[in-house]
Symmetry: C2
Subunit: 216 residues, 2 copies
DNA sequence: GCCGCCAAGATTGTCAACAATCAGCAAGTC
DNA sequence: GACTTGCTGATTGTTGACAATCTTGGCGGC
């Protein structure tokens, strides 16, 4: 294995394990165990841990090692609020820059989403959801916002997984997504930003409801 | 020196040196030289570099070492756009949470700013500017947004220094600041967000003008 | 004079070993 | 039984040395 590949392997291996729930929030990450598990040296394990700490997935405390970061609902709400304004900025910019080909692709995704909801294919809908958000970010080409959004997404994976388990969500978010697509297609930055913010405000609402023990 | 103090010393020493312009954008940061200069071991120098890389102040490339990050005007604009929406979120939240005592303090700062502009004390105005933004963030208590804003500020120090060198800026930004203060005092989140975004949009405009070679 | 190549020194990446600190368990005391 | 203390093994932090890679200056060729 080449030297630089070892660090990649360590970082992505550990990231994947955390995002998959193989290490639970609060769980301690022991370097020696990770060396075995990931098949890399301690040097690379330590480097990977530092990188994931910078991404907010891991908390490192001096002399106490690294733990998977616990993200409370309140934190998840805050993170989602930040995402809301950033993705609003991105949607506005996408509306200002979208090409005809890109608009067609957005519509295509919207159609597939409608079909997935009608067919009750929620896993498929979730994938399309991600694809839509990702395409909008590509259209916008705002690398600063992109980087931050990507980092924050990693911190919210667990909460988003729990949200996606609730069958009522797609019916609520589909029309929101459609409104976003329409505003971008119409090249209306203000409407795109408002639609995206409304959509993510709805996610925040769902997070709060989940905290209160109910989901609509 | 205690062990954990060495890392603090390395990180803050290097951060300060970069923010003060003692290392220029693009300049290479050589570990051995930093060990001498900061009076810490190579281990701590490397750790400090990684932390500053996570903050976006430094770029690290495998086998080529660390360089002070160059932030182009386009990047500065993007970063400021992100700040615009985040500080808008923060201002809205401050408007929703402000206490009477905090509102008085905001007004006090506004008064001091007016005086500083009248007296042509631009350095003082700049300090008050920071104090105002910092207080608004305290009032809002949005730690996720706060952390990101703080990180982004570090990346923009150079550009903000150049902006503050232009005597026309305070006359433009003072009424903008006053509008922000008023909206928060009136507990109007929407107005606060709009006022903050307008203010920072004006900063973006000034950045673009600086790029084009003129400043109004 | 300019360009390309190569060697040497500079620098970064990494390791094994050791020092420092912590966590958990067992024993003792109240 | 509950609490405290001390010890031991586990774990993290760090060092000095060496391997790997890069950068630069000098030399030779055109």
């Amino acid at each position: 294995m080449s030297a630089d590949a070892a660090l990649d392997k360590a970082r992505e291996g550990l990231r994947t394990a955390i995002l998959r729930g193989e290490y639970l929030p609060g769980e301690r990450l022991v370097e020696a165990q990770l060396c075995e598990r990931l098949g890399v040296s301690r040097f690379n394990v330590r480097a990977a841990i530092q990188e994931l700490a910078a991404d907010g997935l891991v908390k490192v405390e001096r002399n106490k090692g690294a733990h998977v970061r616990k993200v409370s609902i309140d934190e998840a709400v805050e993170i989602t609020e930040v995402r809301m304004v950033l993705e609003g900025l991105v949607a506005a910019r996408a509306a200002a820059k979208v090409t005809d080909a890109q608009a067609s692709e957005l519509d295509e995704i919207g159609l597939l989403m409608r079909r997935a909801v009608s067919a009750g294919e929620f896993r498929r809908y979730s994938d399309l959801n991600q694809r839509l958000h990702s395409l909008i970010r590509d259209v916008a080409g705002h690398s600063t916002a992109d980087g931050i959004i990507e980092t924050l997404r990693g911190q919210l994976v667990r909460h988003q997984f729990m949200l996606s388990l609730h069958p009522g969500r797609p019916a609520i978010s589909l029309p929101q997504h459609e409104r976003i697509i329409e505003a971008i297609r119409e090249r209306d930055p203000k409407a795109a930003e408002d639609a995206m913010r409304a959509h993510i405000a709805s996610v925040i609402e769902a997070l709060r409801d989940m905290d209160a023990g109910e989901v609509r």
